[in-house]
Symmetry: C2
Subunit: 415 residues, 2 copies
């Protein structure tokens, strides 16, 4: 398994996935990581817990690509059929892997639980394959060869899958051909078609690298891939292309790669040595959660109040009761008072507030579903904006969170 792999097919196995009861996040993770190793993923395929479908998927993938990575179906229960399907595709039997059994016994011993008969099934591997140790769960993975393709079977639990990929699979992929790196430049504040028009000449099929755009709740990302003989060479191409994109798009660009609106805001606050607090009504904590998803947020984020009930807006944020009564909780004066009260109570440099009607109930002709007031209170005063966001509850809440973070970003870059 030391020859370089060029193309991969990623297979996700599970009734819950093909039926749509769960969203598959494993395939995206794997494709991203494989790209880092210089391997281009050409297809993802999702199939259910049916032996013939899994056998067929293995065979077809091994015919298409020289690397196949499958996730799921390695658990202890009767519907976990990946072991059986791989054996059948290879034309071999299952055999007890004594190392796997020892691993499983140790896993349960450490936790003071007896090993169950169901877990013993997990120690069966197709003849001629190798076990991949699972450092954080019970399901061992499998490394195998099917036709001319290398096959890796990993657990479906994302946390276990990622650990096994990092610890066991990445090193076995050998030196690929060119390094392939993916990159994205993220924007907020302009429609996709406008960005597409500005970058049209870089988005044609013969452009190198060819740019593509994706839209997610208002965040428009410009994506591209580069390949090079070395990581350094590929990184230089990324830098060059990103600079062109930044030059053309200007201040709507808020970050690249793993950067988010929250991390962009965090960087700006840290550069300025300033602090932030939040006052949320309809987002219910999502704004604070988004800010603190960034590791190290404690350097600038002090905390916040989720002022869901009106008395909480008065008690914790000093919103005047008469303003609440006369204007209603979803109004410009209340948004302003929430942000100002928050800034004062937390003694922060900046404070953000969100009040709105996330739906699906609670709208009126006057104040429709999706009406949101967002305020930024800072050293130079308070700025309140009214937005009408059309979409389901989760969409309204997420979009409101992005808008207010972007408002703060713009305010910080101008401050």
């Amino acid at each position: 398994m030391s020859k370089p792999h060029a193309h991969a097919v990623v297979i996700a196995i599970g009734d819950e996935l093909v039926r749509g009861q769960c969203v598959d996040t494993n395939s995206a993770y794997l494709a991203d990581r494989l790209g880092e190793a210089g391997i281009r993923t050409v297809e993802h395929c999702t199939i259910g817990d049916e032996l013939p479908a899994i056998v067929d998927a293995f065979r077809r993938a091994a015919g298409t690509a020289d690397l196949v990575v499958a996730t799921g179906g390695l658990g202890p229960t009767e519907d976990d059929l990946t072991r059986d399907a791989l054996a059948q595709a290879m034309g071999v039997d299952l055999t007890l892997c004594s190392t796997c059994l020892a691993d499983l016994e140790a896993f349960f011993h450490e936790r003071g639980r007896p090993i169950s008969q169901a877990n013993r099934r997990q120690a069966m591997l197709p003849v001629g394959t190798e076990r991949l140790a699972n450092a954080v769960g019970t399901a061992p993975g499998i490394a195998a060869t099917l036709g001319s393709a290398a096959v890796f079977c990993l657990p479906g639990v994302p946390h276990e899958m990622r650990t096994m990929y990092d610890q066991q699979v990445a090193a076995r992929l050998g030196a690929g051909g060119n390094v392939i790196l993916h990159h994205a430049v993220h924007t907020f504040g302009a429609p996709e078609s406008e960005i597409g028009a500005t970058l049209a000449d870089l988005m044609t099929p013969d452009a190198h690298p060819r740019l593509g755009t994706t839209a997610k709740i208002g965040v428009i990302s410009v994506r591209f891939s580069v390949s090079g003989a070395t990581i350094e060479g590929a990184q230089a191409q990324i830098r060059q292309t990103s600079d062109v994109i930044r030059q053309r798009l200007g201040e709507i660009v808020f970050g690249e790669g793993e950067e988010t609106l929250a991390s962009a805001v965090g960087n700006l606050l840290q550069q300025r040595g300033q602090t932030l607090a939040t006052a949320e009504s309809c987002t219910g904590g999502l704004l604070g959660e988004t800010i603190t998803a960034v590791s190290g947020a404690s350097a600038y984020y002090l905390g916040g109040v989720v002022a869901y009930a009106n008395p909480v807006k008065q008690q914790f944020l000093d919103v005047p009761g008469d303003v609440l009564a006369s204007c209603g909780a979803v109004s410009e004066p209340v948004a302003a008072a929430m942000a100002q009260g928050c800034r004062r109570r937390f003694n922060s440099d900046w404070a953000l507030s969100v009040t709105g009607i996330a739906g699906p109930t609670g709208g009126t002709a006057d104040k429709p579903l999706g009406l949101v007031y967002l305020a930024v209170a800072g050293p130079d005063g308070t700025d309140v904006r009214r937005h009408h966001i059309t979409g389901p509850r989760a969409f309204v809440r997420q979009r409101a969170t992005w808008i207010i973070l972007n408002d703060l970003r713009v305010a910080l870059t101008k401050a």
Copy 2:
């Protein structure tokens, strides 16, 4: 297109998806909705923005299934190739759809913006196909026939895709064969292998319905599908099977279908006419966000404090400064004081607190990464528990949120 469809293949198109830069949520949504219409999805396939790959995927899907639903590649930019690929697979040309152009002109007119040349591309359809109106965005969808399969092409933006499916596609699927309904019974508090052992006889390939389990950050769901001539008949089977599962698994079952730990807690609070408030440190708002993701949460959830910095724990939750200094923020006494202070300040029946080290930095030998203290303060006192959660930052935060909600659920059922 009025004959019933039995099997579907769902195709997701986009470089960002096949490369793993974005997670595809559309395919799961569609598979779930198609199941409601009695159509079984047998495969999801994800491919990039490459004309030959998309043409091939259309042809292969139309050979496998009698219904093909594709998402993505209908945008205004150069990398949007679904229109071209479908035309090529059908062996026809693209032609200007004047209704599409009128829709686009109206869309931009309403927003006071001129229509761009890029957006005009969106008005081109393969000859002999039908446009699906887009009520919330610019990309029209396409209804076509390829070989003996019906094909629907929908936008990749989830919000637009869902609206178009609901408004345009669902009604065109005709009366399917049997109704297929998917269901899940959700548990928290026991390992998957234990649940698998308890239900083993119902998980074999010949069981009807055959149960399967999935694990997600501690929530173990028991899933199954039923089919029946009528919705009522299928629902009766769901009821019957769910009752068997509930009987065998007991109090670890917290809900079914769309129910979450947050909605289960919400129902229990509403039944009792009681209220809830939250005090969060390391989860940064995730607990409040999770509780308020349930529409109608304002009936029992008053609000919360995100006490990220230590002074906020003192100022807003009355955590004594000497306890913070002597025990540290991540400790049993601080968790207890946060929950008690929160309950008193909000004057709620129940209060929850979370304090911990989500990582990836900040751990010590004494207080390792993933150490979390969770407290439930209620009418009968305060209960604090220590947990050590192994995993990345987002995993620790999510798992802590589920555990504390489940602790409250158990407390409420016993209260």
